[in-house]
Amino acid sequence: MMQTIIEGVAAPLPIANLDTDQIIPKQFLRGIDKAGLDRGIFYDLRFDAAGAPRVDFVLNQPGYAGAPILLGGANFGCGSSREHAVWGLQQFGVRAVIASSFGEIFYSNAMNNGLMLATVPEEYMECLFALAASSGPIEVRVDVERLEVSSAAGTARFTLSERHRRMFMDGLDMLGASLQHLPAIREFAGRWQQDHPWLKDVAAGARARLDRLPS
């Protein structure tokens, strides 16, 4: 069972629409495995063009190194579908992100990897950002069982679907569970292809047609 309490320093990134290109730039996506992605996390924000740490970036500032929680702006993780953003954040030590909204594909990717995302009201985020701006590093606690975020700014509730809660708390294996449905999938596909024969093997069919063309 996963630990249901995530607590520690929360680093503020009050940037709206912080896209996955910025979370992990393209030059870090050339691998065929998941290794070493932490090097690319927030690369252009963390380092200057010469590769030196940027002092203006929160995670380079005293008290924020290794922060397990990020405070994001609205639509955090929008843009590209790259799951490397989630893998990289986890390798970097991030265990939860709190924001008023998240990009949809990023949200699914995070749930599929056990990176907790807590969607809380905009006003609560503003309180957290104001608090961090005035008092420096703040501690935040995310309670996945109670679905609560608590801090010196008070407590905010967030929601989690039953499926995502089970994936996080019980380590539900999504693919393993779906494989149990293989007989139903085969039956569905057989019926579907009978009713829509023009949708069967469209990729193989197209490839075969192109391969038959004179070169």
Partner: protein, 466 residues
């Protein structure tokens, strides 16, 4: 009960209702590229699983491929070359059709799939790429996923799918001369915002949409994801049916199957009294060419306007990154680079639009202008039509197909502070290269920028020509 087209497509593809929010959704087609699939294949190998229906999967080398006009393309970067060879090996092992590096028909996934008849109305199409929303143009539900889900798709041809809400965007009126589907979608995104459609599948409707070509509809649906949409749909009409039959010889040549298919496609529409959670209405009249000024696709404005005041900290940040000041006109800003291509605007109609604006003009001194066709077929077609020769004579680089500078994952990367007029879909910070500035616009507008060396209202060139 009345249903939206979106609900009909999901219901039809539901294998099992898993719980209140999730269904096991069957996919007619699963597309892959070289960079979001390797870990999925590795996951299958770990579990000892195979691909359930290989013929309903397809892969292409698109994101890392160099676009130099070499006869034989060689991927110089070692890691990227490994991604390509790894994709080939995975496809061979799993029996999955592949469009490899030097395949005549290689190209961007969202360009090659419809042009070779792989997209048909009523399908569910899934890909580890956010711009899979493109296929709504043909009445197919398309959307992007992550790599964990790619693995799930390969093993089961299904996805654990969380239902989205229903949004309808109605656009009426004739597109004014000099404007395109790109201007339309940028205008919509600027109005509803980068998360204006987050959580929804958007159905586009109205007389403006009905008058669009299928390639223009691809552009529109492609960029719906830039408003956060989980999908985009346009109910298939006669234009869509004609496009599909033109691109599906197997179907066009089988009268009985064709009639059955066309009859089913006629049912693919929202019921007249179907309820949408949110509706937006826009008028096309008065639309001017739209250009982005910031670092999010919703930071967009008519080329005739002045750069807006910052409303939020993110606007201030974007203005600073883009090197622009509130109140200055956007037209007249110097550009150093032009990029024409991508899954948004890398099709033959886009290249024809570029050629029409360029005419006998030349690329302005000091400007580097690249044309990267979306696929091998598009490139060949443009060469047959004389577009390639015309653009080369004008000073454009005529390159090989790929995603190229849309995300700059290959060696087509902009240097810092270079300002680029781009037909792509994202103007994010650093997207085309660290510190480089992207202005999204239509192919016609990018052509106008290429020949004038600055952001230019293409209508001034069109009037001049008349």
């Amino acid at each position: 009960m009345s249903k939206t087209l979106y609900r009909k497509l999901v219901d039809a593809h539901t294998v099992v209702q898993l719980d209140a929010d999730n269904v096991l959704l069957y996919a007619d087609l699963h597309l892959m590229n070289e960079y979001t699939s390797p870990q999925a294949f590795a996951g299958l190998a770990e579990r000892g699983l195979t691909t359930l229906y290989p013929g309903q999967n397809v892969a292409t080398v698109s994101h890392i491929i160099p676009t130099h006009a070499d006869k034989l393309r060689i991927i110089a970067d070692g890691d990227s070359a490994l991604q390509a060879s790894n994709l080939k090996r995975n496809c061979e092992r799993h029996g999955i059709p592949l469009f490899d590096t030097n395949d005549r028909f290689q190209g961007i996934e969202h360009v090659i799939a419809p042009e070779h008849g792989m997209i048909r109305p009523g399908m569910v199409v899934i890909c580890g790429d956010s711009h899979t929303t493109t296929y709504g143009a043909l009445g197919a539900l398309g959307f992007g996923i992550g790599t964990t889900e790619v693995e799930h798709l390969l093993a089961t041809q299904t996805l654990v799918y969380r239902m989205a809400g229903d949004m309808r965007i109605r656009i009426d009126g004739e597109l004014p001369p000099g404007t395109t589907a790109k201007d339309l979608v940028l205008m919509v995104i600027a109005h509803i915002g980068a998360q204006g459609a987050r959580g929804y599948v958007v159905e586009f409707t109205g007389s403006t949409i009905a008058a669009l070509s299928i390639e223009a509809r691809f552009t529109l649906c492609n960029m719906a994801v830039e408003a956060g949409a989980r999908g985009a749909l346009i109910a298939p009409d006669a234009t869509a049916v004609r496009y599909v039959l033109d691109h599906c010889p197997d179907l066009a040549g089988d009268a009985q199957m064709r009639e059955r298919a066309v009859a089913q496609w006629a049912q693919l529409a929202s019921d007249p009294d179907a309820v949408f959670d949110i509706e937006h209405r826009f008028e096309a009249a008065g639309l001017a060419p739209i250009v982005t000024w910031g670092t999010s696709p919703d930071q967009a404005m008519p080329v005739t306007g002045r750069v807006p005041e910052a409303r939020h900290a993110s606007d201030t940040r974007a203005l600073q990154y883009a090197g622009l000041a509130s109140g200055m006109p956007l037209a007249g800003v110097d550009i150093q680079h032009v990029f024409i291509g991508s899954c948004t605007n890398g099709r033959i109609e886009d290249l024809r639009a570029v050629a029409a604006v360029v005419g006998g003009r030349k690329v302005a001194p000091g400007v580097r202008a690249m044309v990267v066709p979306g696929s091998g077929a598009v490139r060949e077609q443009a060469e047959r039509e004389g577009i390639a020769a015309q653009l080369i004579a004008a000073g454009f680089e005529w390159r090989k197909p790929g995603c190229s500078m849309c995300l700059a994952m290959n060696d087509d990367v902009l240097a810092p502070a270079i300002r680029c007029a781009s037909t792509t879909n994202r103007n994010f910070e650093g997207r085309q290269g660290r510190g480089a500035i992207t202005h999204l616009m239509s192919p016609a507008m990018a052509a106008a920028a290429a020949v004038t060396g600055k952001i230019t209202d293409v209508r001034t060139l069109l009037e001049h020509a008349q």
